[in-house]
Each structure stands twice: as C-alpha cells, then as structure tokens.
Symmetry: C2
Subunit: 344 residues, 2 copies
DNA sequence: TTGTAAGCGTTATCAT
DNA sequence: ATGATAACGCTTACAA
C-alpha cells in the first residue's frame, strides 16, 4: 500500500541496500544471480525509487525544465506543445521528468528564475524557447551556474563558445530558398515577401534564402518586401501593402505561417481568390495550417524530434557523455497544399 | 557561488536551522526580531530551499503533474497550452512547480503511471485532461493511492463521490443554448448541429442546449443533426451531409471549434459564402478561431483561469484547506465574430 | 562481488 | 520562543 523503499527491496532480496542501488542503476559489479533476485524483489514490491532522495543524495535531479516566454498570445507559440511532447518522450525513455516554467519577458527577474532552477529545483538542464534562448542576460546567468542549456532555434551568435549552450534548428536559409523555388517552378516571378522579427536570426536567414532564390539574375524590387514581426497582426498591414499595389504580386511568401494566415485573411477580405489569383506560402506547419482555407503550403520542421533531441542532449550530458557539437540542424520538408498554384 | 543551505542561513542569522525553517515557512512562533534577522540572512545569501530535501523530509513535494493524453494530433488539444499557462501561474504563486506527463491511451500502463506519480515523484496532485479524466481505471488507481485529482471538463459521473476528485468546467448546456439563441435572434430557424464525441458528457450537454433552444415549440428534423467526434476530420462528412441537402440549413452550429472549422472548409470547397449563405458557429475559442476566414463566432471558456483554479485547488488541499465542492463551473462568454450573420 | 557508514538539505519531534 | 537531533530514501566513498 504505502510506498516501498530501497530497504524493503534489500530485505526481500536478502542483500544490502547498496546492492539494490547498484543493480537498479545498472552498475557493472553484481552477480547475475543477485541481480535477478533484486529485480524480482523490486518488481513484486512495486518499487520505484524516490526522485527526491536520488536528487538529494546524488548529483542528478532527473529533472529538465522547459522555459517558455509568458505573455505570448500569438498562435505562433503553438509549436511549443509539440516541442514539449518530444521532450517528454525523451525524458520518459531516460527516466527523466519535464518541468514547465514561464517567464514574463517584460518585468522578469531572471536572477530569481535562475536561482529557482539551480537551487530549488537543481534541474539537470534547461530548454529555452525563443526569444528566451537569445537573451544574453539569462544565458550568462545560467552559464555562470553551470546549467546545461539547449536553445531552440537560437539566434544570438555564440561564436562557437560552448558555454552558451547547445542548439537545435533547421536550415532556415534552405527552407526559404526551396519554398521560393517552388513558387518559381510554378511560374511565379512576382513573389512578395513578409519579413520576420528583425531581432530573430531565422528571419534574416529566411529572407536571404528568398532573395537568393529569386534573384537568379535580376534585382528584386523592394516593393515586394514588407516588414513583419512573425505575428498574425503584424502581417496584416504588410499584406495590405503588397496586395494594394497596382501591379500586385502573384504570390506572397511569408516568413512564417502566422503571417501567411494573415495574408489569407487580407486576400479573403479583398475578394482575391487563393490560389486562383494569389498563391500564399509560409513556414512552420502550425497545426492550424492544414485547417485554414485553403490549406497552407508551408515548410515543416520536425518539432517533436527537435524537442526529443533537446532533452536527450541534456540527459546524455548529465550522464557524462560529452557531445561537443554546438548545434544540431534538422531536416525540414516542403508541404505543398492548396494555397499555391501556377499564376493565372 | 555554490548553493546556500539552511545551515548557512542559520549561521548568518545566528540561530538554529529549525528557526530558519520556521520563519521561512511562516510558522507562528518566532519573534519579529529573529524573523527579520533570518529573512535578511536568507536574502543576502540568495537562499532558496531545496525542493528535494523538503519533499524527502516533509509531506509535500510541491509538485503538480499535468497529465495529457498522448497521440492526440488534433488541434483541439491546443487549449492544453493555455490550461498549462494558468496552472503554472498558480504554481508559481504557491511555490509549486508543474510537471507535464503524457499517456498513450492505447497501450498504456496506468499502473506504471500511477506508481511514477505516487512513488517516484510523490506529486501533491494531478490535473487530468480529457479524456483521461474520465478513465475509471486510472481514476480509481489514483484514488486508491490517495492522490488529489482535478478533472478538466469531467464527463464520467462520479455521483458526488469526492474520492474521484474535483472538477472544473463550464456550463456546456447554457453555452450551446445561448449560441443557438444567438443564431435564432439573427433569424435562423434551419440550424444544423454537429455532435461531439458520444462518450464525452460535454457533447450531450451541448446537444441538449441546442435542442432546447431550437425546439421552442416545434420538433427538430433529425436531418439537421449529424454525428461528429470533436475532431476536424470527423466533421468533414457531417458538414457535407448537412450542406448537400436540397433544403440546406442556413446555419451550422458545431459542438466545438475544430468541427466548425471543418464546416468552413467544406463550405469553401462547395463555393458557399460564409456568412452570406451560411452562418457557422463553434465552441472553445481556439487560438485558430480568430485567424480563419471568416473569423469564427464561438464560445470562450476561461481556460487559463480554469488551469489556475485546478492548481490552486491542489495546493490548498495539500496545505490542509478542505474545499468540499466537487466541481467548479466557470463563466463562459459568447464571442461573436464574422462567421454568423442573418440569413439572406 | 558485496556491505557499512556518512552524508545530501530539509521537516518534524521532542526538549528546553 | 528556540534548539538538538532524528528521520526522509537514496548515492557515494570506503571497506571487506
């Protein structure tokens, strides 16, 4: 009924608690016979070790914190759910558990957050969601305390310094390049672009991919490029500017899905049929992307896998394995749905 | 640099560790003077107590687990993010932390999950997302171990038995009733309805609200009511059935937003203008609801608040306060956007 | 290969 | 009002 302890197992298996500990932690020294006896005892007693006790005594807490920026209401944040799913799966596989914490970017006390993470929780690592993963203050606070950080789609250039943590990302340049080429393959030449948040490196990389793909011999008229902030609302004026031109583009490529949906919305209001008179594309493959009308052509990031890789990195690192790569780049894939078609 | 312990604080304040513990836990017996000295010492030392140590020694772990069903890819699950946000906020306010766990509904070992929650993590409570919150096996496993459960939008009737946990919900009947009336106020009489998952009590309650509002004197032709499962895909055939009728309804009310979006999608493909020739409404106010074309009229649940209330309940419960209410019903609100309008 | 004993940093039980 | 001291359940030296 009440929880079994290591002593109960030791007694049942007729060994010392140390032996139980050894067996359960997979340490080498233990005779197969003893090992079997201990395993058996643990199973029948329904024993699972106490995390608190392990953490208090050992050097690991078996806890990973996923830290997201609070106060973000845009649905761009939705991929966090998938990231979390991947992280949880990896945690389970490694006997770890995932804590979720939010930080308000505005009036936030990164010092207190760090203290909580390090002293109270003693987490074995932290997964940072953008734009937290690019906050130099938070990053250095964590680095000073020796916390393993994994940054999701990191922007801030760490100049190869490992102390700033490890990162997972896709090749944003290639993703945008390929999407632009997809549009061009369909016959589009007048392709508008809505930029992402200027402080986010992914934004610049995506714009570069667009520019390089489109350039291909001729200069790009600046009227085709409009500013955005990665949010739905920020793309509304950009879409209006693009679609209000006398010679309006036959396609618009937004730097992410939230903004592409804004384009869809503006086109809808202006009575411009998509993809009949306008093709629209984004990047991210948000859950909503397949549900809007028409379903959005976009680039899919393996977000679940990225979350799992992030957690795995921390787990391996804590277990002593030293992965010395500073960033892992994942494969993306073009998802062609109905929002893109050859121009009329 | 390295973490301060209660001993460091005791030494700095020139008291015993017990006194430090007392002061920090707000226990009554402590002279104001001593209290001030301890607080001061704790502040300057940047001391935060170790969760592991507290959990190991005391009766609380300061941990709450949010358990979601895994393998759910429908965007209906998106409100979990908001629920989580609320729960985290409440946790922070109470010195708690939120763990997230997933369970695969298919091949899931609820016993192992329970053991992890109870023995390994020793969580102070569990928040259960539908349809987990209605799984009798899991529920009784947790109840047997004395785990505080909070069920989100619970379905399974617990006949007022407190051991099955507490619940948070909205008044689904009223929500559907009001939405139907909104449609009727606009002049609609031929209002189609897409049902929710048959095993989910909210589905039945919403249907009842719809029926009662619409009935109002005359019987409801069964052709107006089509089956659905709360998912986008499940509502596609239902929408087609409704819109394929010679005398098609002038409005469709889907039991949730995911399905309402499916209606939008089918109408789009059939060339039926919304809201010109068809009004569409849902329930939930998913993040995507405001982004689709046209923006969806729906019912908003205070999901963030519900998450916070769930966590708060567990925290208060663990702290000894006995809230003996079995369910808290939150206010919903009609969100009228552009997908509903008077019939032509 | 196995066992003993000493922490880990708290809370809780007694005294004082 | 305050302080020793014993748990709590484990890992980690250090022996045997």
């Amino acid at each position: 009924m009440s929880k079994a302890t290591i002593y109960d197992v030791a007694r049942a298996a007729n060994v010392s608690i140390k032996t139980v500990s050894r067996v359960l932690n997979g340490e080498p020294k233990a005779s197969p016979e003893t090992r079997a006896r201990v395993m058996e005892a643990a199973r029948t007693l329904n024993y699972t070790p106490s995390l608190s006790a392990r953490a208090l005594s050992g050097s690991r807490s078996f806890l990973i914190a996923l830290v997201s920026p609070g106060g973000v209401s845009d649905n761009a944040m939705l991929y966090v759910t998938e990231l979390q799913l991947g992280a949880i799966q990896a945690c389970r596989a490694g006997g770890y558990h995932l804590l979720t914490e939010y930080v308000d970017l505005g009036a936030s006390d990164f010092g207190a957050l760090t203290e909580t993470l390090v002293s109270t929780l003693r987490v074995d690592g932290v997964i940072l969601i953008p734009p937290l993963c690019d906050n130099p203050q938070l990053l250095s606070l964590l680095a000073d305390r020796g916390v393993n950080c994994v940054r999701i789609s990191p922007t801030l250039d760490t100049h190869g310094d490992e102390k700033w943590g490890w990162g997972v990302d896709i090749d944003n340049y290639q993703a945008a390049f390929q999407m632009t080429r997809h549009l061009m393959d369909q016959g589009h030449r007048d392709i508008g672009f809505i930029q992402g948040h200027p402080l986010h490196a992914a934004a610049a990389q995506r714009e570069a991919g667009y520019r390089d793909a489109l350039f291909d011999g001729g200069a790009i008229p600046e009227r085709l490029i409009q500013p955005g902030m990665f949010t739905f609302d920020s793309a509304l004026p950009a879409a209006r500017a693009l679609l209000g031109q006398k010679q309006r583009p036959t396609a618009i490529f937004a730097a992410n899905d939230s903004m592409a949906m804004a384009v869809l919305s503006v086109a809808y209001r202006m009575g411009i049929p998509v993809p009949g008179a306008l093709s629209v594309a984004g990047i991210d493959d948000l859950p909503a992307a397949s549900v809007v009308c028409p379903p959005l052509t976009t680039v899919r990031q393996p977000v679940v896998e990225m979350g799992a890789a992030a957690a795995r990195f921390i787990i391996n690192r804590t277990a002593g394995q030293v992965g010395n790569y500073l960033k892992q780049v994942f494969d993306h894939s073009l998802v062609v749905r109905e929002s893109t078609a050859p121009p009329a």
